[in-house]
Amino acid sequence: MPLSISLITDTVMTPSVRLQEMIRVIRSARTQGEERGIIQKECADIRAQFRQSDNGERSHSLAKLLYVHMLGYPAHFGQMECVRLIASPRYSEKRIGYLGAMMLLDEKQDASLLITNSIKNDLSHSSQYVQSLALCTLACMGSAEMCRDLAPEIERLLRASNSYIKKKATLCAVHIIRKVPELAELFTPSARSLLSEKNHGVLHGAVVLITELCEHNPDTLDQFRKAVPELVQIMKGLVTSSYSPEHNVAGISDPFLQVRILRLLRILGHNNDTASDAMNDLLAQVATNTDSSKTAGSAVLYETVLTIMDINSESGLRVLAVNILGRFLLNNDRNIRYISMTSLQKIVQSDHNAVQRHRGTIVDCLKDQDTSVKRRALELSLALVSAVNIRSMMKELLIFLSTCPPELRSQTTSGIFNAAERYSPSKRWHIDTILHVLTTCSFTRDAFWNLVMLSHFFNLSSQQPLVQVACWCIGEYGDLLLKGECEEIEPVQVTEDDVLDALETVLQSHMSSPATRGFALTATMKLSTRITDNVDRIRSIVSIYGSCIDLELQQRAVEYNALFKKYDHMRAAVLERMPVMDKNSPGHTNGDTSGENKEPDPSKPKPVEAGLLSEPASQSVQLQMKAPSGNVIPAHGLGQVTQTVVLNNPNKASLPCLFLCSCLSH
């Protein structure tokens, strides 16, 4: 291919041309297979290149190999080549060698040890760009060994070099401290003196270094508290300086440096009155003067707010901070809304009242389009629920639940249950809420588990209908309960034995009414098709009740026994799960108590057409809801409000299976 003259002067020399050729060829591949073939051929070429003695082509080959590596193909055979190239006297070869080292080598490879010496030499090279290559590579992939070897060199560079190298050496020092924390003492003296540098890059690095030192060691932290006035001065300079084009981002002077300093001030002022006092003025100044119309300003303001909240600042300042966050909540930019909710989350425990003032806005954010924002709003809303606002908050949360994205559903339901448990104004409200949740979304394990817990609790206080509901649930959905962990605070793995224990307790408890016992027995029976291990136990339970005094129970037990013995092949079909209710199906009579759709519960399995089961005795499948005998729930033990439940289902078609709630209005 003919090369035009201009190409000779520009790109022929650098590794890029060969690389570009290869890239062009790879891109012309039309299928994945073709690409693989091309790359295999290229890699073979590269390998051959590496084996030859030095001929100036090496850097090109390594560049090609790194490109191939980025696409995801193996490139480990280039590791030794990196070592060789790093040792070369030529800058272009060193450069690609170091880049290769950063991409292909890590501390686990032996090859990485081999470059320690090269790095050491290059750190004292006459050209600052070679020095910078060495520093960069050490900071990216330096192992603990290498760091220990080279730390004194880095410390020397920290003190005596130009600002370009100083700033790189500073960050390198941070990496060293992270790898080998004991070396922190080596860098502490020089770190302090770096604060008097004028170059922003060096200052930035210095602040990062000091932050790292303080986080590692509380004694060092004490030492650096003396630097607070100096830091405050630097900040003041940045905040009040007139337009400086170099570091200016959207009208803010070096926002990156400002944010770093604010973060360091936060660490220094935390739990320390003197330091906090020294910062109060500055923080007030930044909070009021920073223009937050662009992201840069918002970043600084946000950091200021976090600092104010985390140190021992005076109360006026704290109020200012929370108000700024409140303002952020109303910002059009979603990023800013998200950020402000993140920070409100951090302070909701300590400054609960201040955050409560913004509850309305937060609840509005539940309706935002963005899932990230919704998630934040949900966490914050749940944190803001209290005894005072439980009713209104729950309304909002339930509305949210009906439209929330699936990935947030379980978090929402657990949150609702927790809140309900802690703050519910009455038992009835509590139950209503749980049932509302269950009807809103498909049965979640959480909902279930809560119901079972509730039923256990209520079993002792003779709230029979609730127990009946719980039994029915366990019968129908026992397999879901057993299938996985539930997402409660203490995750509990429910075993089949646990479930059967619960049902047996109900069966045997002298507080259970006969009706309740009937529910429990049926539920136990249903579980025989839903569980795998304990079917024998079920069989034995059922047969025991075959000789029970209670007629109803006896009849059921005998029938179930028959199902086990003679009609075992039909058992699964008979005990199948109820299909979901269609609200408009015939024979559906609504009782409209408290606006919820309450449907009575068929306590028997679907009647089999062949009529093998004898007609059930008192509680027929057909249940109908009648008006309650009163609208007032009496005080405990002072009488009853009864509501009979009868379901009409003449078609014997898909039976509705929305909840039994009528029993609640007792």
Partner: protein, 193 residues
């Protein structure tokens, strides 16, 4: 700390990937795929932060991304970085690329990925922000580029020049140039073959 910086296009093809912690090649590709999957699902007008369940580190880590034309720029960071600050950093990075490549487009990144690495090395080092002043970054990048070129130029120029000229396709030189009355005899030049 910045854990990784990824650039990929709207179809998930990586254009540059830099990891500041070590992962195997397979894991790196998985991370790129997973990140693309998460980021490409997002609408244009929702916030630029993503979190939760990432291969690259778990609950402490966030993805902060920006979408420019056909490219996604994704920074994976932990909680010690300011989210809004990183958003600004992405902006500075892209503007720097724009200045260095003159109206940068995806093709520039494809064919000069090593240059992109060099530019990035002046901005982020060891997972930490090094320099955010655009003119400073560009100055350094240009100086290093000059150094490379001058070095290669001194060493390799003669050999390259010969091979380049050999490949030139010069048109056949005429023996005589006739411009009316003036007739210039063209000397017999050896053919460049």
């Amino acid at each position: 700390m910045i854990k990784a910086i990824l650039i990929f296009n709207n179809h998930g093809k990586p254009r540059m990937s830099k990891f500041y912690e070590h992962y195997t090649e397979d894991t790196e590709q998985q991370i790129i795929r997973e990140t693309f999957h998460l980021v490409s699902k997002r609408d244009e007008n929702i916030c630029n932060f993503l979190e939760g369940g990432l291969l690259i580190g778990g609950s402490d880590n966030k993805l902060i991304y920006r979408h420019y034309a056909t490219l996604y720029f994704v920074f994976c960071v932990d909680s010690s970085e300011s989210e809004l600050g990183i958003l600004d950093l992405i902006q500075v990075f892209v503007e720097t690329l724009d200045k260095c490549f003159e109206n940068v487009c995806e093709l520039d990144l494809i064919f000069h990925v090593d240059k992109v690495h060099n530019i990035l090395a002046e901005m982020v080092m060891g997972g930490m922000v090094l320099e955010t002043n655009m003119s400073e970054i560009i100055t350094q990048v240009e100086a290093q580029g000059k150094m490379e070129k001058s070095e290669a130029g001194i060493a390799g120029a003669p050999a390259r020049a010969v091979s380049a000229v050999k490949n030139m396709n010069l048109p056949e030189m005429p023996k005589n140039i006739n411009i009316g009355d003036i007739s210039i005899k063209v000397p017999n030049l050896p053919s460049f073959k």
